[in-house]
């Protein structure tokens, strides 16, 4: 067994274990931290595949940005842990059957008999000065230009949707706009004389 193979198995085991922990931990913060671990180990697996750019991006984007934000949200929200776990036992048999079937099917298909070295030749290792990043960049803006543009539009839609759904002027918001406030002039802006008829008390509807 080569050293790389040992590394692969060690990190795969950590990955599977941490992924299991993500869904079984009671505390969402713990789950999120285990998810960070899962991302790290899968980044290392990608590194073993010589996909170093993707590995680094996974750590930078997912661990560095997404998960930190996610932890923020989890810590800010007052999650009802009991409610989140309600129905877990009831749903578990169905979930286990579905997941078990899928795992069994994958086990049958995704194995050496279909993806073994006799079917797909081992890719030749790249020389030391080979730049994964450069190769990706080369195809990303030529062959895959159209998909990249669409992906950009998807991100734009994400921004619009997020802002559109969360930003609102609340009618009960009593805060004042200072720039409007300082513009006030003496006289008409401060006092308004209203002439009106004497009020008649209305019947409450």
């Amino acid at each position: 067994m080569t050293f790389e193979k040992i590394l692969f198995y060690v990190f795969s085991v950590i990955l599977v274990l941490s992924a299991t922990m993500v869904i079984t931990r009671r505390d969402p913060v713990h789950s999120a931290l285990f998810l960070v671990l899962a991302f790290f180990t899968s980044a290392i697996l990608w590194m073993l595949l010589e996909a170093e750019f993707l590995a680094i991006v996974l750590v930078l984007v997912y661990v560095g940005a997404v998960m930190v934000l996610f932890l923020f949200v989890v810590m800010m929200l007052d999650t009802d842990k009991a409610a989140m776990r309600a129905g877990f036992v009831k749903m578990m048999p169905v979930g286990l059957i579905v997941a078990g079937t899928m795992a069994f099917e994958m086990f049958l298909i995704v194995g050496p008999q279909y993806f073994g070295l006799d079917k797909f030749a081992m890719p030749a290792p790249h020389p030391a000065d080979y730049s994964n990043t450069e190769e990706l960049g080369r195809v990303l803006y030529t062959v895959y230009m159209y998909p990249v543009e669409i992906a950009a539009v998807i991100l734009l839609v994400g921004i619009i949707a997020a802002i559109g759904l969360t930003m609102r002027k609340r009618p009960d918001n009593k805060s004042l706009d200072p720039s409007e406030q300082v513009k006030v002039t003496k006289g008409t802006d401060r006092i308004r004389v209203v002439k009106m008829a004497s009020e008649i008390k209305q019947e409450a509807k």
Partner: protein, 479 residues
């Protein structure tokens, strides 16, 4: 690869819609609530322009650009134009509803335009990657639209369900695509097809990938047993959004199925045919039977959509160009009919009142004979009663299925259509033979009323002269 500006010509419609969406987004920032009508007008005019652009860019022979990621052919032209028209209709009907419910905002049109862009990308996809990205663009816009009424609890719940299930479906689809990529080493439909021809049928990895692709597709189409999200989403979403959701995206879903299964994996036809037979029969059975038990018309139409999806699949599974064009005809007709049926719901809904219960349709004939007649046409068309166009749509699909020796599938289809006719005709019975519970006259804006009348008469006109549209579909598939 050399860059040539002429390669961009087939993509001009997409570029135009993208620019239009960005323009609407920016302009909308600078106008007041009272001038919001300008955003609406700009969107509608832009969509009308897009029809002309698509038609003028269209030629007879297919063009593949962007290293095989994008295709422009007869089918994409026809489907894009019908998506524009259906979207224009949906925006037209929804205006009044949005104004009354305080949802008349620029984001609605921006997200709608991005959804149209996503549909166009799906329609013109020539690789698994672009098909997936188009689907995501469409779905993301739709999730946001379903949640558009932020104060509505059912709306948020529906959006959440739609989002979670949609994400699972996307995951399934991607997993299937990754298997196919693993087995063939390509994402491009042309290369995948060539690779599939070489390996033959016994490659179990391909079938494994195909299963996941079909599951992902069935989720997005809303075929049984992957339909659970549809009734809740239709019920929870604002009626205007449900209308949009039930019309144009169905055309795009048909296109996606065509691109993935026919363009991408035609050599696996005998495998996906069996899967589609199961999905189609289950959809027609469950959709039609459960729709009978519904008292909410939006839920009823959701189940009716499920059954119509079964019919659309039935045409595709025939695997002949006759079947594809019949299915395309069906998808377009269904979108237009559904647009009209939801249009009537919108017309009857007023501020603070949703005409979503079947009882609200009692005695509609007394309140407005003309719109009761229109609703009758929509219902007859959905049920497939001649002389409305729905009859021809069903006939062409059944004919295509019978001609490939799958008569039993056609018989099952007919059987469940007859069951389905019950709940469509029940609405007609409620409208004409029951006493009205409220006698308020039906009032609507002039544009809504004209659009509904045109839409209803179209059901009849296309039913009397179905040949024109059918010829367009046949020619589009043939090219």
């Amino acid at each position: 690869m050399q860059f040539e500006a002429s390669n961009l010509i087939p993509v001009v419609p997409e570029l135009f819609i993208l620019s239009l969406a960005c323009l609407v987004l920016v302009i909308d920032l600078f106008i007041d609530d009272e001038q919001r009508i300008f955003t609406y007008a700009l969107t509608q005019v832009g969509l009308v322009f897009a029809i002309f652009i698509t038609l003028s860019v269209g030629q007879t022979e297919a063009q593949i650009v962007f290293d095989g990621s994008y295709i422009r052919d007869g089918m994409s032209d026809v489907l894009k134009v019908s998506i524009y028209i259906v979207t224009i209709g949906a925006f037209l009907y929804s205006k009044e509803y949005l104004v009354e419910h305080g949802l008349f905002k620029g984001e609605y049109y921006v997200l709608g335009l991005f959804a149209v862009l996503g549909m166009m990308v799906m329609v013109s996809a020539q690789s698994f990657l672009t098909a997936y990205l188009g689907l995501e663009l469409l779905s993301l816009s739709l999730y946001a639209l379903v949640a558009f009424d932020r104060d509505s609890k059912t709306g948020s719940e529906a959006a959440m369900k739609y989002f979670v299930l949609g994400a699972i479906a996307s995951g399934m689809l991607l997993y299937g695509i990754s298997m196919i990529y693993g087995a063939t080493g390509a994402l491009n439909f042309t290369t995948v097809t060539t690779a599939l021809m070489g390996t033959g049928m016994e490659d179990i990895v391909l079938v494994f990938g195909l299963v996941f692709v079909v599951i992902g597709l069935a989720f997005k189409l809303g075929a049984v047993p992957f339909h659970m999200w549809m009734p809740d989403v239709y019920h929870g979403a604002p009626t205007a959004v449900a209308q949009f959701l039930s019309s144009a995206p169905k055309i795009a879903a048909f296109a996606l199925a065509m691109r993935l299964l026919v363009d991408g994996m035609l050599p696996l036809h005998s495998d996906w045919q069996q899967m589609l037979v199961i999905l189609a029969i289950l959809s027609m059975a469950l959709g039609n039977v459960i729709a009978i038990a519904q008292t909410n018309i939006k839920r009823m139409l959701a189940y009716s959509t499920i059954s119509h999806v079964g019919f659309i699949m039935m045409g595709i599974l025939a695997g002949t160009s006759e079947g594809y064009s019949a299915s395309m005809f069906y998808a377009i007709i269904y979108a237009v009919t559904s647009l009209g049926a939801f249009g009537i719901i919108i017309l009857l809904s007023k501020k603070g009142f949703e005409a979503e219960n079947l009882d609200d349709y009692k005695g509609l004939h007394e309140r407005s004979p003309w719109f009761a007649a229109m609703m009758m046409l929509f219902m007859f068309s959905m049920a497939g009663v001649p002389p409305t166009v729905g009859f021809w749509a069903k006939l062409f699909v059944l004919d295509a299925v019978v001609s490939v020796e799958l008569t039993w599938v056609a018989l099952v289809g007919v059987f469940f259509s007859i069951i389905g006719a019950f709940y469509y005709i029940r609405i007609i019975k409620l409208m004409y033979f029951d006493k009205a519970e409220n006698v308020l006259p039906v009032i609507g804006n002039l544009d809504t009323r004209i659009a509904l009348s045109v839409n209803g008469v179209l059901m009849l006109a296309l039913g009397l002269f179905p040949a024109a549209l059918l010829t367009i579909c046949v020619r589009a598939i043939g090219s």
